[in-house]
């Protein structure tokens, strides 16, 4: 039972354009969401997070949007840069339940074309 789903295994975007990565979840207990970026042979690197009390969080070129009614979140990267090419993982947790583990999606490989 995949509680966090990233339905697009890959995405290619031209440099300078917007990258939009999507994530869907099924567990209504999730109240904290994160995006991580992963380069080959490295561990996931934290990018940005959002609590369920918000619907948007912005940090520089990265913005995360949360639509609780649709159980959907997205990561926008604008403008996209070649160095953004990596695998992006969406993660969720039910932080208020005392369970601190993250549930991850399967990842989306982003390729930014110069």
């Amino acid at each position: 039972d995949q509680q966090v789903k990233q339905n697009s295994p890959s995405l290619s975007v031209q440099e300078g354009r917007i990258s939009i990565l999507n994530c869907d979840y099924t567990n209504s207990m999730f109240d904290y969401f994160l995006w991580y970026k992963k380069y080959p042979a490295e561990g996931p690197t934290f990018l940005i997070s959002i609590s369920s009390i918000k619907d948007k969080n912005e940090d520089g070129r990265f913005t995360v949007f949360l639509n609780k009614s649709a159980k959907h979140l997205s990561l926008h990267i604008v403008p996209s840069q070649p160095g953004d090419s990596a695998v992006y993982f969406c993660a969720a947790s039910a932080s208020s339940s005392g369970t601190y583990k993250y549930i991850f999606g399967t990842g989306t490989r982003l390729k930014v074309l110069a």
């Binding site: 991580y36 490295e42 996931p44 934290f46 997070s49 369970t99 601190y100 991850f104 990842g107």
Partner: protein, 115 residues
Amino acid sequence: GAGVSQSPRYKVAKRGQDVALRCDPISGHVSLFWYQQALGQGPEFLTYFQNEAQLDKSGLPSDRFFAERPEGSVSTLKIQRTQQEDSAVYLCASSLAHRGTDTQYFGPGTRLTVL
């Protein structure tokens, strides 16, 4: 400052051997997590420590998997009688406190290959 470190980075084991994977969390971080990442998948939770106490081990796939953090700092994940299905990257993460909104910071992982 130093991030999470893991050793060894790569481990090859013959089926049936025991292995031990080490994690050094960020200094002062109370919480420590182990995840397993199979090829083409996202990380999957194995176990969680708050200081030296193992509060959640619901993700450990079998009793061949054992984790400890005896002094509340360094942690070791031990896998006994390794099987081919244990081949994966084992990721360790730490977070500052024990709040659900504390960000987990990951190490580079140990890639285990069981032949």
